[in-house]
């Protein structure tokens, strides 16, 4: 790809003309960081393709990504297009619903070379999203921004491509499911078992309830100004506990307990049966 003269303007919009927003799944971020860590020594940044789908309400759901080898010098950018297509074909064999929705690059801000790459991607997809992930933590935090390109034209002549920022929603639902503890620390010694996880959840719940108690006490004693919306939330929560008479509730709990005990008993019997059967099977002597 040759250099051309596009100037790039970049400002945060006060009102965006397109109501586009992007949702990024945590896997994408993991992928990008991993590719960044593994990049060849002479490359400063990593460029790759974003895959996902467009939801019916217009938001772009970014679900997967892969890096594309590229060569970058001061005014030229060369992207390995064959690689890009090969990977796309391979990945689509697994999941044909994921299509190209844009591209990403690491590093803060949008540079001149990005406009060329964006142009390339806009040939593949009508309105590609450009995601920048700041792996250098230049602002003191890792910023993830998404941009859409809008063409500024004067009459018939195209002047410049403006990168407008669109809101990014980082849905960490899957990461939460796995548990941030596992994903946060550089090394976890073992995956927590069921009961340990249960314990952790209950502790968190307990902490929350304590917080709420403290807050209510403070408000009653006048230390903290009362906020009616919070009060409404609390009363809704308390009211959502089903109103059962204590005896009915006890009966419910006991019934469930008995069911579970029965299942436990069944499974222990099964295991005894198994060990017995196995002893019989292999210990049978042929006379």
């Amino acid at each position: 790809m040759a250099a051309s003269e596009h100037t790039v303007l970049q400002f945060t919009p006060t009102q965006s003309s397109t109501s586009l927003s992007a949702k990024v799944h945590p896997l994408v971020i993991f992928n990008i960081c991993d590719c960044y860590v593994r990049r060849p020594d002479q490359a400063e940044r990593v460029i790759g393709t974003l895959l996902g789908s467009v939801l019916p309400d217009g938001t772009v759901d970014i679900r997967n990504s892969y890096a594309v080898p590229h060569n970058e010098s001061s005014d030229q950018v060369a992207l390995d297009i064959d690689y890009h297509h090969n990977m796309l074909l391979s990945l689509q064999k697994v999941n044909p619903k994921e299509v190209i929705v844009g591209w990403y690059s690491t590093g803060l801000g949008v540079t001149g070379g990005s406009a060329l790459i964006h142009e390339f991607y806009s040939r593949e997809v009508p309105n590609p999203i450009h995601l920048t992930v700041d792996t250098g933590f230049r602002n003191g935090e890792g910023t993830i921004k998404a941009y859409v390109s809008v063409n500024l034209s004067l009459g018939d002549r195209q002047l410049a491509a403006q990168f407008q920022e669109i809101p990014v929603d980082l849905r960490m639902v899957e990461a939460e499911r796995v548990g941030f503890d596992i994903l946060k620390t550089p090394m976890v010694d073992k995956i927590p078992s069921d009961l340990e996880g249960m314990e952790a959840s209950m502790q968190r719940l307990l902490a929350l309830i304590d917080d709420v108690y403290k807050y209510v006490d403070d408000v009653v004693e006048g230390h903290v100004a009362s906020d009616s919306s919070i009060g409404r939330f609390i009363s809704e929560t308390v009211a959502s506990l089903p109103k059962l008479s204590p005896s009915a509730f006890d009966k419910l709990v006991n019934d469930s307990l008995q069911d579970h005990l029965l299942l436990l008993y069944l499974s222990s019997i099964t295991r005894t049966q198994l060990s017995l059967a196995e002893k019989l099977n292999t210990a049978a002597q042929i006379l």
Partner: protein
């Protein structure tokens, strides 16, 4: 002097070449967070269909590091697609190598439904992989259990003793008793460690939502486990049926065997009495064995492999039921405490 040193060098070289390296046994599988997320995403997208994928990484001493993975497309039962599958794999490995991903296959992962993964195909796949790679591991992920809030990820490998036995394809009771091999020894579960690069942990630390409760807590504290338990028990019942069928096969075999032995004894008696008569008449005694007689044909003992696998599955289901019941107890008591207060 030169000769001496030359000799010592030659000897030590020979020594080194003759002593085989003893590979340290695999103790831990170290997975990267990236791989976990990828596996979860792939398995969840296609659940309840079962999917597989390949694991890539490095084999370092007693730790098997898994650094990346890629999914396999759903394979049709068509012959031509077999070649496609191999092509896909080569293509993916080539592409990943260009971006400096470890190109070394260390195993595969598959999703499972409620823990019913112990099948003969699994063992065969293991044997296939084991021929090419010295150490391979299989990671099993259960998306239905993960809805309960538990990360149901397991790393398995076949135990060495079992592999040797499988190669000889001999599963009779005697052999198993010799090796002291029972159904627990087929699969070995290896503990999993999770590692993340520093960059990713920085990002995750920052992106972590501030709220003290996460989705995983919501999943865990849910009270309704009935559907899960029901399916578990259903599978358990089916497996028990299969196990009882296997038991019947054994019974049949033993009955046949004892009947055959009784027949052999009777025939032997007859022969002996004939021989006595012949001796009395002065003729040569007939041989006491007659291999052409069909009652001497040894009946093949049925392989115990299936029953072992089924037993494994049943044990797995039982374990799961235990785990979920434990959790439910916790939840129920929690509810009770909440209601009381």
């Amino acid at each position: 002097m030169a000769n001496n040193s030359g000799n010592t060098v030659a000897r030590s070289f020979l020594q080194v070449a003759s002593t085989e390296e003893v590979a340290p046994s695999l103790r831990v599988v170290q997975i990267e967070g990236l791989v976990i997320l990828k596996i979860i995403k792939h398995c969840k997208e296609f659940s309840p269909a079962l999917v597989t994928g390949q694991l890539l990484g490095l084999d370092v001493g007693s730790v098997l590091e898994v650094t990346n993975c890629f999914p396999f497309p759903i394979r049709e039962e068509d012959e031509e697609i077999e070649a496609d599958g191999a092509n896909y794999q080569l293509e993916m490995m080539r592409c990943l190598r260009e971006v400096n991903v470890d190109n070394n296959t260390v195993g595969w992962y598959q999703s499972t439904l409620l823990g019913s993964f112990q099948t003969v195909e699994l063992i065969e796949t293991f044997m296939n992989y084991q021929e090419n790679i010295r150490r391979c591991v299989c990671i099993i992920y259960d998306p239905s259990r993960s809805n309960q809030g538990v990360l149901a990820l397991k790393a398995l490998k076949l135990s060495d003793a079992f592999m040797e036995l499988y190669r000889s394809n001999n599963f009779t009771g005697e052999k198993l008793r010799e090796r002291n091999l029972s159904w627990v020894d087929i699969f070995e579960e290896i503990p999993i460690k999770v590692s993340n690069s520093a960059l990713i942990s920085a990002f995750m630390t920052e992106l972590e939502a501030d709220s003290p409760i996460t989705q995983c807590d919501y999943d865990r504290l849910q009270l309704s486990t009935n559907p899960f338990m029901e399916r578990n028990v259903e599978f358990l019942i089916e497996c028990m049926d299969e196990l009882s069928m296997e038991q019947q096969k054994f019974q049949f075999y033993y009955r046949n065997l004892s009947r055959q032995q009784a027949q052999q004894q009777a025939w032997l008696q007859k022969r002996r009495s004939e021989n006595m008569a012949r001796k009395a008449a002065g003729e040569d005694p007939l041989p006491e064995e007659d291999p052409s007689n069909p009652i001497f044909k040894p009946i093949p003992e049925p392989s115990r492999l299936d029953s072992f696998l089924i037993t494994n599955q049943i044990a797995n289901f039982c374990n799961q039921i235990n785990g979920v019941s434990g959790q439910s107890f916790n939840r129920l008591y929690l509810m009770k405490a909440l209601q009381d207060s």
